[in-house]
Symmetry: C2
C-alpha cells in the first residue's frame, strides 16, 4: 500500500495554493523580482479591506483577521498580497473603532506601505461605505500636510481574511470592473443549496449548475460603488451583504462574473487558520542554499544533500559563500544551511545573521538557518566519545529575538559508505523537518545525524 | 500588542472541532469510556460511505479519501468515527473497482470491524445505490458462511471525507429519519448564492436567509431510500447529487432538516488535509502522563513541569509507575514522559514500549514517548564537560517501526533557582512541541534543556 504523507506534499500543481504567493515584499527599487503574471494597468486602482468582523465563527476571542500564525496576524498577509501589486495605489483597511490602535501597530510593525486605517460602521455595508468615502477624501502626507484627493478609477473590495489573492486575478477584476462598472469573483457551489419550509423541512433543492457562490474580490468603478451607497436604503445598510446586488439595484449595473481560483478561500473557522499556516509554511520551505565555505569535504556533503533533498521536494543551491554575486541569496526566499568542517563556524554564522538582519529578511516570516557541523573522521565516534558540541545555544537565543531560527546538526565523516549515506539522509530529513516546521522550541539544539 | 500563536490554540470551546473526537477505538469490553453524548437507539442502523471520488479538487493524484496524515488514510478516520458508535451495526464502504484491494488493505491494517467493501458505480447516486442494495443482501461470516440478510431500519449516508462526525449528531439524524422517513444535515450558507446569465453576468442574488447548504450525514428509512432508487430515472442516476431530492420526488418524503455543527465540514482541497491533520494533532496533544519512578528529584521536576504545561494548554498527570491501577494510562489517550535521575532509564522505557505495544496503543496514531534525563548537579555542566548521552537512538529506531516516537531531553539539576526554572520551562516547551508535532525526523534525538 503506497500511502504516505508525501502524497500530500508532493504535488506542485495544486490548484488550492497560490502560484506566486509573493512572500517577500515587492516594489523595493531594483530588487523586485518580476512576477510572470504581472500586467500593466493604466488607471488608478485602490482597495477597500473591510476587517471589522468579530470572528464569532472561529470560536476564538480574537477576531480572525487579527489571529497570528508564524508570528504575524492574518490581515498583514492580506495587506501584503495587495502591497506587492505595483499598480495598486492605496489600501484602506476598515476596522472596528476598538481595533484602530491594534491595526496601526500592525502596520508599523510589519512596515506596510500604501495603507490607511479608517473606523468601521455597525454593519459590513456601512464599513465598506466608510472605506469608499475615505478613498474620495483628501489624504494626509507623512508630515501631516493635506494631499489632494486622489479618487481612484476602480475600487477593489476584498475580505481581510482571504490572504491568498493573486495579481493575475486582481488584474481580471480591475479591468472587467473598469469596462462593465462592476465585476465579482464566483466559485462553483460546494454543496447543494436547498430551500426550507418554515417548519424545518425540505421545500426544494436548487439546480446546482444554474447558481454560483459569490466570493471576493469584487471591483467597481468609483462612481458605481459611490452612487450605490448614496442611493441604497437603511435596510440595505443594515441587512444586506452583497455589493454586486446594490450595483445592480441602484445603478442598473450587471456585474461581470469571473470564476476565481480556489486560492480565494476565506478563513472562516479555526481549522482554516491551520490550513493557511500550512500553505505559508510550505511556500517558505521550497528552497534553501547551502554555504560550503569552499571546503572540499563540505562540497561533497552539500552535493549529497542536494540529491537527498530533491526526493524531499526542496530545491537546494550550493554556493561557497555569500560574497559578490551570491549576496543575492540574502534577498530571495531562501533558507540557509551553513556547513562547517572540523571547526566551529559560529563566527561565519554570526556574520550571516547580521547580513540577513541588514537585508530585513526576517521582517515578515521567521527565517531558518541551520549549521551543519561535519567532524572529520569516524574514529571519535567509534571511541565512544562525542566531539565537543558546537556552542550555538547563545547565538541562537539572540537570533530568535530577531525572528531568525538557528539550529545545529552534527555528523561524522565516515569511510563506511552505507553509514555515510544514512547520515546524509538523516541530515536531509532533519533539515527538511526543521525548515518546514519553523518551530521556536528547538532553536539552539544540536541534533545528531 | 497581544497577538501570538497561542491565540489559535488556546480555545477549548472551538465550535469547529469535535468535542469527543473518539480517537481511540471504542467498544472493547469494559475498557470503553462512556461518551457523555451517547444515547440509546433501539432500532438497527447501518451506514453507507460512498468513497468513489477521484479527488480532482485537491489537486492530488491520490483520491482525497486515501490521502494520509499521521500515517493513516482519511477514510480510516471516518470509519473510526462510526465504528465507535455502539448502536451502528454495520458500515458499507463503496469504492471504485480499482481501489477495492487498497480499501481491503486499509481495513485489515487498521483492524476496522463492522465494515464491508463494495464496488461503486459510475456516479455518486449509482455508488450509494450499490451500498444500499448491499445492506439488503445476505452477509458473509468470518468463515465465509452465509448470514441472514440484516436489513437495517435506518440507513445513514455520509461522505468518506467528513471524518469528524459525532455520535450526538448521528443520533439526531437517525431518530429523525426513523420518524420522518428522511433527514439531512444543513449548514448556513457561507457565501451569497447568485444566479448568472448565460453571458456570465449577474442575474440576481438569492436571499441568503431562505436557503441552506445541504450537507452530510443524511438518514433514510431503508424503505424510503430503497424505493427512491428503484423509481428514479437514468437521468437522476447520471446527473443528480441530492438524495433528499430523490426521497421527495419519488417517495413524497419531505426530509427533516437539522442544523449540523461546523465539524461536519468536508475535506475538499489539499489545504483541508492540513486542517484535518491539525485537528487530529491537537486532539492527540491534550494530555501526557509523567512517570517519576518514585524518585524525589523526579517528582519535584514533574510537579514543576505540570505547572509549566498548564500554561501550554496540556493536562499532565504525575504517577510513580505504570503498575497496578496506573496501567489504565496505557489504555487512554495519553502521551508518556519518563523521568530518569542520574542513570539511564532505557530499560524502563523499553518495558513501557512493550506494554504500549501489547495494548495496541499505536495502531491508529503515532504515540509519543519522551525520556527526560535529569543529571544530579550542575557541576558537570559548569566544568564544561557534557554528561554521557543516554543511548536512546537504537531503541528509538526500533520503536519508530512500531509507530512509537521516542525522543530524549537532558537537563541538569541546578541550585540556581532562575537557571532551574529556565530549564524546566524549556523542557515543557520542547515536550509540548514534540508532542504536538509528532514528527518522525527527530526521533532518537537527545535535546538539551
Amino acid at each position: 500500500m503506497e500511502i504516505n504523507h508525501t502524497n500530500m506534499e508532493g504535488d506542485n500543481c495544486d490548484p488550492d495554493r497560490p502560484a506566486h504567493p509573493g512572500i517577500f515584499p515587492g516594489g523595493e527599487g531594483g530588487q523586485r523580482t518580476h512576477q510572470p503574471g504581472e500586467r500593466r494597468v493604466d488607471f488608478p486602482v485602490s482597495v477597500v479591506l473591510p476587517a471589522g468582523g468579530t470572528g464569532e465563527r472561529t470560536g476564538l476571542q480574537t477576531p480572525k483577521q487579527f489571529c497570528s500564525f508564524l508570528g504575524r496576524p492574518l490581515i498583514s498577509y492580506t495587506i501584503q498580497a495587495f502591497e506587492r501589486v505595483s499598480w495598486i495605489q492605496s489600501i484602506v483597511v476598515v476596522v472596528a473603532k476598538e481595533n484602530m490602535d491594534l491595526m496601526t501597530d500592525i502596520i508599523q510593525r510589519f512596515q506596510h506601505r500604501k495603507v490607511r486605517v479608517v473606523p468601521g460602521g455597525s454593519t459590513r455595508h456601512r464599513s465598506i461605505c466608510n472605506g469608499v468615502l475615505a478613498l474620495g477624501e483628501q489624504g494626509e502626507g507623512e508630515e501631516g500636510e493635506k494631499l489632494p484627493a486622489n479618487r481612484p478609477k476602480v475600487v477593489i473590495i476584498h475580505d481581510a481574511v482571504r490572504p491568498f489573492v493573486e495579481e493575475d486575478f486582481l488584474y481580471k477584476i480591475a479591468t472587467a470592473a473598469k469596462e462593465q462598472g462592476a465585476a465579482g469573483a464566483i466559485r462553483p457551489l460546494v454543496s447543494t443549496v436547498i430551500a426550507t419550509t418554515s417548519e424545518g423541512f425540505l421545500d426544494h433543492s436548487l439546480e446546482r449548475a444554474r447558481y454560483r457562490a459569490s466570493e471576493m474580490p469584487q471591483g467597481f468603478t468609483y462612481d458605481v460603488i459611490f452612487q450605490a451607497y448614496q442611493r441604497c436604503t437603511e435596510s440595505d445598510f443594515d441587512f444586506g451583504t452583497e455589493c454586486l446586488h446594490l450595483a445592480l439595484q441602484y445603478c442598473g449595473t450587471n456585474a461581470k462574473l469571473i470564476e476565481g481560483p480556489p486560492t480565494l478561500w476565506k478563513v472562516t473557522y479555526k481549522r482554516d487558520l491551520a490550513a493557511a499556516e500550512s500553505i505559508i509554511k510550505e511556500t517558505l520551505s521550497r528552497s534553501a542554499c547551502i554555504i560550503t565555505g569552499g571546503s572540499a569535504q563540505a562540497v561533497t556533503l552539500a552535493d549529497a544533500l542536494q540529491k537527498a533533498a530533491g526526493a524531499l521536494d526542496m530545491e537546494l543551491d550550493v554556493i561557497p559563500d555569500l560574497m559578490g554575486d551570491n549576496c543575492r541569496y540574502l534577498l530571495k526566499e531562501w533558507n540557509f544551511i551553513q556547513v562547517s568542517v572540523n571547526r566551529s563556524c559560529v563566527s561565519e554564522v554570526e556574520s550571516m545573521l547580521k547580513d540577513l538582519e541588514a537585508a530585513n529578511r526576517a521582517l515578515l516570516h521567521p527565517l531558518v538557518v541551520i549549521l551543519v557541523h561535519l567532524s572529520g573522521s569516524d574514529e571519535l565516534s567509534v571511541s565512544g566519545r562525542t566531539p565537543e558540541p558546537v556552542p550555538i545555544a547563545d547565538v541562537a537565543a539572540a537570533a530568535k529575538l530577531r525572528n531568525i531560527l538557528l539550529y545545529g546538526i552534527q555528523l561524522h565523516q565516515s569511510k563506511d559508505t552505507e553509514r555515510w549515506e544514512r547520515s546524509v539522509l538523516r541530515v536531509a530529513e532533519i533539515t527538511s523537518a526543521l525548515i518546514r516546521e519553523r518551530g521556536p522550541a528547538l532553536v539552539g539544539q544540536l541534533l545528531q545525524a
